[in-house]
């Protein structure tokens, strides 16, 4: 197996994702990192996101759009995705305990993904304003 070495790029990417409450895409991360590393390439961003994901430092989120988002908050939690502006919000819900769900299936559960869709507060306000 490979050993990971220090890399300024990877450190910065990680600290950026951890520092932000949004769930940035690879492209957003690339743009931000560009400020510190003018020669940065997309390949490096993707490679490091993959490594950080493998290390469990971040989580790759897939919201059905064409690109993935990355989340630095690895504690199990759920998301609310606005179907209008595509923003992603963290929400905390009491979903069934894993042991309980485990009873309903023969398969071995190791993780879950819980997501809600709808209109976020901002978009609701905008819509009211337009009427």
């Amino acid at each position: 197996m490979n050993q990971y070495r220090n890399s300024k790029q990877r450190e910065n990417i990680l600290s950026y994702i951890k520092s932000v409450k949004t769930h940035p895409t690879a492209n957003v991360i690339y743009d931000v990192m560009k400020l510190d590393f003018p020669n940065l390439s997309m390949g490096t961003v993707y490679r490091n996101l993959q490594i950080l994901s493998d290390q469990g430092e971040i989580t790759k989120l897939d919201f059905g759009s064409t690109f993935d988002h990355y989340d630095g908050y690895t504690k199990e939690h759920s998301h609310f995705v606005c179907t209008s502006c595509q923003k992603v919000y963290d929400i905390q819900v009491d979903f069934p305990k894993r042991e309980q769900v485990q009873k309903t299936t023969v398969h071995q559960i190791k993780g879950s993904l819980i997501r809600y869709y709808g209109l976020c507060q901002d978009c609701m306000k905008k819509m009211k304003g337009e009427n």
Copy 2:
């Protein structure tokens, strides 16, 4: 707005998806349809999947792999995805009622997505056999 016309291709695609318990990808659907329509093109498959999805006849599922799956069972239910063989199984779980979740957030919830990950029964057996 467009009016949909009858098309043998679309009919067949729909009845295939409805008849199957798996959650086929566009490519699988294409291969199966090829038997009936040797000249079928991928464009037609995708266009029809889009239309059927718009009509609410099927649901597009995104499991984070590079391609999408389609589900003909539109009643709200959740999925179990095997992280080893990538198979998708339907499971029925008592997740929190929407009204309850709604109380925990300022955003307006319109839908949800609940998914569990782990090892399916088949893969568990295989792994035991290998030890």
